[in-house]
Symmetry: C2
Subunit: 80 residues, 2 copies
């Protein structure tokens, strides 16, 4: 089973990396970029076929390791 976990900064959390990318895009001539925020994506391959169990394990992985839930949100998508 394949899963994608997307971890993004919560609204209001400063993102200097995103701001640097925004500045670089502007200096490359891309006008009209109002904001850039960077996040992380994890593509996992899991053994087993029980989607509910996988979703529960993935949420637990996010809480324990993949995301810092103080400042980050996470989203889990499962594709078979």
């Amino acid at each position: 089973m394949k899963a994608r976990v997307t971890v993004t900064l919560k609204a209001g959390v400063l993102d200097p990396q995103g701001q640097a990318i925004e500045g670089s895009l502007k200096s490359l001539g891309f006008a009209g970029v109002a904001s850039v925020r960077q996040g992380k994506v994890f593509d996992l391959v899991l053994d087993g076929t029980d989607e509910a169990a996988a979703r529960s394990a993935l949420n637990s992985m996010c809480e324990k390791l993949l995301a810092n839930t103080v400042i980050e949100n996470y989203a889990v998508e499962i594709s078979n």
Copy 2:
């Protein structure tokens, strides 16, 4: 207009960061994780409402700055 750019390593490119996460997940007791690969996600807000122009600009941003197309793939999603 909002856009999400997802940048992932091409198949075959070594991902030591993903391997480290996979090892950490296993040592935290998550069995059944067959593989982890890490990528990046960029959430952009763009001025303007022309979706075709935005898509073209985003592809150009990926080619020039956001992705290293030698080793990375990118995907662009636009949501209004």
